[in-house]
């Protein structure tokens, strides 16, 4: 436990001000518990620090080196999967005060943002000038793009894999580091817009790094235009094979801004108002009214003529996969349409069920049905039962999305547990590592619930060694997010 008498505390106060440092457990605990971690071992930090500028972040990092205090970055704070748990004490570095949108540049169609900027805020501000970020649809818009980027594979809503142009980070030694053309001296303001500066694209060092290589303090990410016609469309599919085929073919047309699909139970959770969600009979009716799988896409184009062509192309692609266009009325239509619109409410409806592990696989489309069958067989093996608000026993809720647009699909499986039922929590804890081990055979990355660090033995030794060497060389004191990615570093 930390104390206000510790050197770290006293020095941190000088850097960020008394108001923004605490060693009180009442302040620390909220940063150290999240949805999934409530089923797992709780880790507490010794302090929480809330810097307001990149310079203050630098000061804290230098202090951490001096006092050998581990630091765990925490951006806006929608953490669901145990990935920000401070495993070795130290300080949680909360970045929510770095909440500036420095620039939304219409020429380059980019936004320069800090880690405290939420998806919702970025969507709201970008739309004022006719732009918007991808992803849209799904994901907790109350969280932020920078946090999602750092969490990488396994983060929710993080369909932005190629949308980061350049970034600024505070390295573990406290120095400022910039990527892309911003790495050239004096270019951080003039031209930070080219992704590759010299040699490899160093953005990738930070993607999914969970903070082990430094703290990202600024990011330039791509935006896309909001066009004259932005038309959400919904397509019903009878089974997993059909929906995956339909998604693949529509994705390959290259004409939709974003594409996701959900199974019946996920769709119901997203579509329901809170009143319907809490009405067992009404919710059952809603579930019954929905197709087995629903694909949601968005036509984005300049005029009706173009839209007509797009609709025809999409119709051809889905028809050959047993899909059919479907329209909804009332609150269902409103919710499904709003899923695309930056509403932080609808975008997080999918969290309304029991707390759950968002178990992912990232695989080529043809492997998705097999991965689903695998998950089902494991659930059967564990006699793992989940119920919906209708009171029915249901299969897990599913999200499907083309990851990196085409090569791989993401399948998110929501393995729920009742946080008041110890027996189910125990079952969940047994199920989780088995599921991860099995899905690793698919080559799938998992950041959820701290499983990241358990995956290293499955990697090529050369890959693991290179990352370890980088970590050791830039963080000799091991202060940045120890034990988040490597068990022992």
């Amino acid at each position: 436990m930390g104390s206000s008498q510790d050197e770290f505390f006293k020095e941190a106060v000088k850097i960020v001000g008394e108001k923004y440092v605490s060693a009180d457990r009442e302040d620390i605990i909220p940063y150290c518990r999240d949805e999934v971690s409530q089923a797992l071992k709780a880790y507490d930090s010794d302090y929480v620090v809330v810097p307001g500028t990149a310079e203050e972040v630098q000061g804290i990092v230098k202090l951490a080196n001096k006092t050998k205090t581990p630091l765990y970055p925490y951006s806006y704070g929608t953490n669901l999967s145990g990935a920000t748990s401070p495993r070795k004490g130290g300080a949680v570095v909360v970045l929510r005060r770095l909440n500036r949108i420095h620039k939304i540049d219409q020429e380059t169609r980019t936004a320069t943002i800090e880690p405290g900027v939420t998806w919702s805020k970025l969507i709201f501000e970008a739309k004022k000038v006719g732009l918007e970020p991808l992803p849209l649809g799904g994901g907790p818009h109350t969280g932020g793009p920078v946090g999602n980027f750092n969490l990488g594979g396994g983060s929710t809503g993080s369909m932005d894999m190629n949308d980061v142009v350049s970034l600024e980070a505070v390295l573990p030694n406290g120095e400022i580091f910039r990527t892309g053309s911003a790495a050239f001296q004096g270019m951080e303001e003039t031209n930070p817009y080219f992704r590759i500066a010299w040699g490899p694209n160093m953005n990738e060092l930070f993607r999914g790094s969970m903070g082990i290589f430094g703290i990202v303090t600024k990011m330039i990410r791509r935006l896309v235009p909001v066009r004259a016609i932005e038309e959400p469309i919904q397509i019903a599919f009878p089974d997993i094979e059909s929906v995956v085929g339909g998604m693949k073919d529509v994705t390959q047309l290259g004409i939709c801004k974003q594409i996701v699909a959900t199974n019946r139970y996920q769709t119901a959770a997203i579509a329901a108002t809170s009143d319907v969600f809490h009405d067992q009979a009404e919710f059952a009716k809603l579930e019954d009214s929905l197709p087995e799988f629903l694909m949601m896409a968005k036509i984005s184009c300049h005029n009706e003529k173009q839209a007509e062509v797009y609709r025809e192309l999409i119709n051809d692609a889905i028809t050959k996969n047993n899909g059919k266009l479907i329209t909804f009325e009332g609150y269902v239509k409103e919710s499904l349409d709003m899923l695309w619109g930056g509403s932080s409410v609808v975008a997080i409806h999918y969290l309304r069920h029991e707390p759950h592990l968002m178990a992912f696989v990232y695989v080529p489309p043809h492997m998705i049905p097999g991965a689903m069958r695998l998950a089902h067989s494991l659930l059967d093996k564990f006699d793992y039962k989940m119920t919906s608000s209708s009171g029915r026993t249901i299969p897990p809720r599913i999200w499907l999305a083309p990851w990196e647009r085409t090569e791989c699909f993401m399948m998110e499986y929501d393995i729920e547990f009742n946080p008041e039922d110890q027996e189910q929590i125990d079952k969940f804890r047994k199920f989780m590592p088995v599921y991860f081990q099995e899905t690793m055979k698919y080559g799938s990355a998992q950041a959820s619930a701290g499983f990241f660090r358990q995956m290293e033995p499955g990697l090529l030794p050369s890959y693991s060694k290179l990352l370890r060497d980088i970590k050791k060389s830039i963080d000799p004191n091991g202060i940045m997010a120890p034990s988040q990615v490597f068990k022992d570093l």
Binding site: D27, I29, P30, G77, L80
Partner: protein, 423 residues
Amino acid sequence: MALEDLKSQIYHCSKCGACRVAYRQSLPTCPAGEHFGFESYFSIGRTAIARAILDGDLEWNEKVRDRVYNCTLCGACDAHCYAAMGLHPLQNYLEMRRELFNRGLGPMPASMPLVESTKTHDNPLMANNKDRGKWLKKREDKKIKQGQDVLFFVGCALEFDPSATAMAKATASLLDKAGVDWGVLNEEEVCCGFPIYELGCEEEFGRLAKTNIDKINSLGVKTIVSACAGCQMVMKKDWNNYGDLKPEVLHISEFALRLAKEGKLKITKEYKKKIAYHDPCTLGRYTDVYDEPREILKMIPGIEMVTMEREREEAWCCGAGGGQVLADPEWSAETAMQRIEEAVEAGAEALVVGGCPTCNMNFDMAIHGYANMAKVFGKVAEKAPVALKFMGAGQKLASPFMKRKKKADIEIVDLVELLDRVT
């Protein structure tokens, strides 16, 4: 109820953060969280603290108290959490306040005189309860009689706060203009209990609620009208735990609209200004009265309504609720200033408050300083250590607008007073 009974709420917080951000405009929703900076002052953090207490990970203590009581109870978190997740986190902190109060840890010391006064004087302002109704020209004539239909429940602020008495007079005037046969309880009215309900003093609240319910039910009135958002809220919602209040309860905005639609209240004069409407938390989020005030405002010739960035469920609190106006007047006034600035930015020439003396007082503090606070709280504030510095010479402490050398170029007017002007 105990915190244990709210497990299903507390354990199901997913930490999504919907409670922190206005969902349509993506602006802050939580005055406490934004001011104090740590998650523990947002709903998301208070719920984590509640969970830690239930799990035996934390104990009830003064640090918990500070995080639970430093909250305006505006309910924005609750509205957002319900829309997103279907949960009501506000119940958690109200229950935490009750628990802290019962353990002798709450409320904040500065708010304790309100509780003591309510116990000894039947009102939170240490006023003589027998003085109720003194603002009336013919006090005894207006004492409610058996068989009268409408009771005007005046409330402590409108009775004893010199700056709010105008609201009482305006309400009376409106009722007269509409030909309503109305009366008041005078010395038989006791505090509605709202201020101490917020502070977690359940037992005393129960006594007040029951006293009022028994008296009102015995009169056989059909309708209770209140011009105080806080009074009408507890009458509509929380008194129900202590008895079956027979008459319907209406806020003045609801009643005035009804009278106007029936042709009994005639709006005859213009008010040629651009106005923004402020939803008091206890009127809007707590009792869902959003449309009626707007509807009647639109009936006033000459009014041009402008929209603030955050309205209705998303409205930014005035900052006075939850006991904050006495416990931390500067934070309260800072929060009020942000709301006023939002109205100014929207182009409003007047900010119309929807029938709430507390909002009015706090907006006044933000603009003109704390002098009025001394008049309102008088002896109560003298007993409140934090508020003391705002008393006497301290009344000249600079308001948030004064500190920033800004002029609030806007009129603050309560809905009921505005309606009285134009009818």
